[in-house]
Amino acid sequence: MEHNNQADQTEEICVEANGLWKIFGKKAADILNSDLRFESKESILEKTGNVMAVRNVSFSVARGEFFVIMGLSGSGKSTLIRMLLRLIDSTSGSIRVNGEDILKYSKKRLMDFRRHTTGMVFQYFGLFPHRDVLYNVAYGLKVRGDVSKEERHARAQEAIETVGLKGWENYHPSALSGGMRQRVGIARALTINPEILLMDEPFSGLDPLIRREMQDELIELQDKVQKTIIFVTHDLHEALKLGDRIAIMRDGKVVQIGVPEDVITSPADDYVREFVQDASPAKVLTAGGIMDQPEALLYEWQGPKAAIRTLRDIKEDYAFMVSRHRNLLGLVTLNRLKTVIQNNGASLKEAFTPDPPTTNPVTILEDLFPIAAEADYPIAVVDEDGKFMGEIQISSIFENMIQSKEAIADE
C-alpha cells in the first residue's frame, strides 16, 4: 500500500494533499488538539456534537492521472473534494496544487484559481434554473469579466458540442433530462479548459444505461484532452473502470490507495475486502495483467526449416510471427509448417495464418471469454500500434480468475 500512496515519482505531481482534517462544529480546533481526534466518529459526535468528516488524509495525484475517491455514503468524499477547491475550509492540513499552497491564497487569488485552474461537476448538477444552457455553460468565462461575449459563446458552444448537446443551447435546464443536465454540468466545467477536473458522483443520479454511456464518453474525453481528474463515486465498478488509481475512504480516513488490480487482489483491510467481495475478477483483471511472454517468436525473415527447429526446441506446436519491429504478422503452426516443407516451400509466409485472435492489454477478462471460445491457440496481446506484447493461454484466463477469488477469500 505504501508505495502507491504517492503518484508515480517519474511523473509531475499536480495535486497534493497532506494531513487534511475536517471537523464540522464549533469545537473543531479543541478536538483536533486532544486525543479525542483518535476516537470514532460516533463517539466524537456523542461527546461533542461535532462531526468528524475527514481524518488525516494524504495523497498526491499526477498530472493527467484519473484519480478516483471511493467510499460509502457519509465517508467524507464530498467534504474532501470540496476542500480541494476550498468550498469547505479544512480544519488542518495542506493542499498544494502545482506546488502552490492554495490554503494561503487570498480571496482574490482563490477566485482566480477557481476561474482558471479547476472545473467542478456536482452530483446534483447545480445549474442555474433561470438561465438557458448556453448561459450556464458560459458562466465560468463570464465571471472572469474580461472575456468578450462572442468568445464566451463560441467556447461554450464548443463544449456543448463536445458533450453532445448541440441544438439545446437556448433551453432552460428544466426542459432537459437528468443525463442531459449532467452533460451541461460537465460542459460548464470544460468550457474554461481547466487543468484539473473535480467530479463529485457525477453519474450517480443517472440510470445504468446512460451512466455506462457517460462513463465511456468520459474515458474517451480523458484520452482526448488529458486532464487531471479527481472523481468521487460510491460505486466500485465505476471506480475500477475509470480509475488509474483508487483511494478508498471509510469514516473520513483513506484506508487504501492503489491501482484497481491491487485493490481487488490485496485489499488493505476487512472494509475494503467487503467492498470488493462482489467485484468479479472478470471485470477487474486485464489482459495486460495476466499475459505471459512466449518462449520464442518467429521472425519474418526466417525460413521454414529454422522455424520448425525453433518450435521443436520449445516443444510447442505454434508460435507468433512478428516483423523486425515486433509487429504481429500472424500465427504459425507446426502442421502448416510441415506441409510447406513437404511442398518445398521456401518462405515462412506460406505457413502462417494472418489474422489470429488478438486482444488489447486493457481488455478485461470478461471480454476475453468470447474470443477464447473461438480460439484454438493462445490469444495474442497487441498494443494500439499492432506491436506484439505477450500471449494469453486460454487455460490461464480461468486460472487467474480462480486464483484471485481465492486470494480474496483467504484473507
Binding site: F122, G126, L127, F128, G140, V143, R188
Partner: protein
C-alpha cells in the same frame, strides 16, 4: 388588593420621550432634509396622477390587467371598477390616495430591498432586524402617527412616513426569505466557478429571489393602501380623509362610497401585482 412595587417601575415612556427630544434637537436638520425630499417626490407623483386624463388611466389599467392576467374579461372588470370610482365622484381623491400609496411603495422598495439583502447576507443583521420588523407589524398603526407627527409635524410627509413604516416590513422580509431560500448547491456551483460574492448576488440570488420579492411588493402595496385611512388623521388628503370625515359626521352613505372606492383600488392593485408575482414564479419553473 395588591400594589405593584414601585421600585420595579420602568419609566419607558419617559425614556422614549427623552430619546425623541434628543433626536429632535440634534437631528432636526436631517429630518427637515428627508421631509423635504419626500415631499417633493410625493408632490410630483401627485401632480402626475392628477394631470393624466382619467380615460387614459382607465385604458392603461384595463390593458395592463388584460396582459398580466391573460384574460380580457379581467381587463374590462378592472377598468370598470375605476370608472365606478369616477362615477361616485371620487376620481381626484382616489388619485391622491394612489399618489400617496405609490410614493410609499417606491420608498419602501428603495429602502426595503437593500435591507432585505443585508439581512440575508448577515446572520447578525437578521437577528437584529427580525424583531424590529415583528414590532413594526404588530404595533397598532396609530402608534406610528406619534413619532411621525413629532418629526415632521402635520401634513403629507408624516402621513407618508407613517405609511412607510407600516408597509416596508413585507418587502424586507420577503427579499430576505427569497435570497435565503436559493438552493445552496446553485450558489456553490457559482462559487466553484470563481464568482465573487457580488456576482453571486446579482447572477444567482437576486434573480432567483424575484418571485418572492414580487410577493413582498404585493403585500407592501396592500399595507400602504390599508394605512391610507389612518394616515389621513395627520393630514393626508384623499379617500382616507373622506372616510374619516364621514365617520366624524356620521354620514353613512358618504362613508360607504369612499370606503368602497378604497376597496376597488385595493382589488385592482392586488390582482395586478399578484398576477405579476405568479408570472415571475412560473417563468422560473418552466
Amino acid at each position: 388588593m395588591s400594589e405593584f412595587p414601585r421600585f420595579l417601575n420602568i419609566p419607558l415612556a419617559d425614556w422614549v420621550d427623552r430619546f425623541m427630544d434628543w433626536i429632535l434637537t440634534n437631528f432636526s436638520g436631517v429630518f427637515d432634509a428627508i421631509g423635504h425630499t419626500l415631499l417633493m417626490m410625493l408632490l410630483n407623483i401627485e401632480r402626475f396622477f392628477l394631470w393624466i386624463p382619467w380615460w387614459l388611466v382607465v385604458i392603461f389599467v384595463g390593458i395592463l390587467a388584460w396582459r398580466v392576467m391573460r384574460k380580457w374579461t379581467m381587463g374590462v372588470v378592472m377598468a370598470l371598477l375605476l370608472v365606478l370610482i369616477g362615477s361616485f365622484g371620487y376620481w381626484k381623491l382616489a388619485m391622491m390616495t394612489l399618489a400617496l400609496t405609490t410614493s410609499a411603495v417606491v420608498v419602501s422598495l428603495a429602502v426595503g430591498i437593500p435591507l432585505g439583502i443585508l439581512m440575508a447576507k448577515s446572520d447578525l443583521a437578521e437577528v437584529i432586524i427580525r424583531p424590529v420588523l415583528d414590532a413594526m407589524q404588530t404595533m397598532p398603526s396609530f402608534v406610528y402617527l406619534i413619532p411621525a407627527l413629532m418629526l415632521f409635524g402635520l401634513g403629507k410627509v408624516p402621513a407618508l412616513f407613517a405609511t412607510l413604516i407600516y408597509s416596508v416590513p413585507p418587502v424586507i422580509r420577503l427579499t430576505n426569505v427569497g435570497i435565503r431560500q436559493v438552493p445552496q448547491d446553485t450558489i456553490e456551483a457559482a462559487r466553484a466557478s470563481g464568482a465573487s460574492p457580488r456576482q453571486i448576488l446579482f447572477d444567482v440570488q437576486m434573480p432567483l429571489a424575484v418571485p418572492s420579492i414580487m410577493v413582498g411588493i404585493n403585500q407592501t402595496t396592500m399595507m400602504a393602501l390599508a394605512m391610507v385611512v389612518i394616515a389621513s388623521m395627520i393630514g393626508a388628503r384623499g379617500l382616507g380623509l373622506e372616510v374619516l370625515l364621514a365617520i366624524n359626521r356620521i354620514e353613512v352613505g358618504r362613508g360607504f362610497e369612499a370606503g368602497l372606492c378604497i376597496v376597488f383600488l385595493a382589488i385592482i392593485i392586488d390582482r395586478i401585482t399578484n398576477a405579476l408575482a405568479t408570472k415571475q414564479q412560473k417563468s422560473l419553473e418552466s
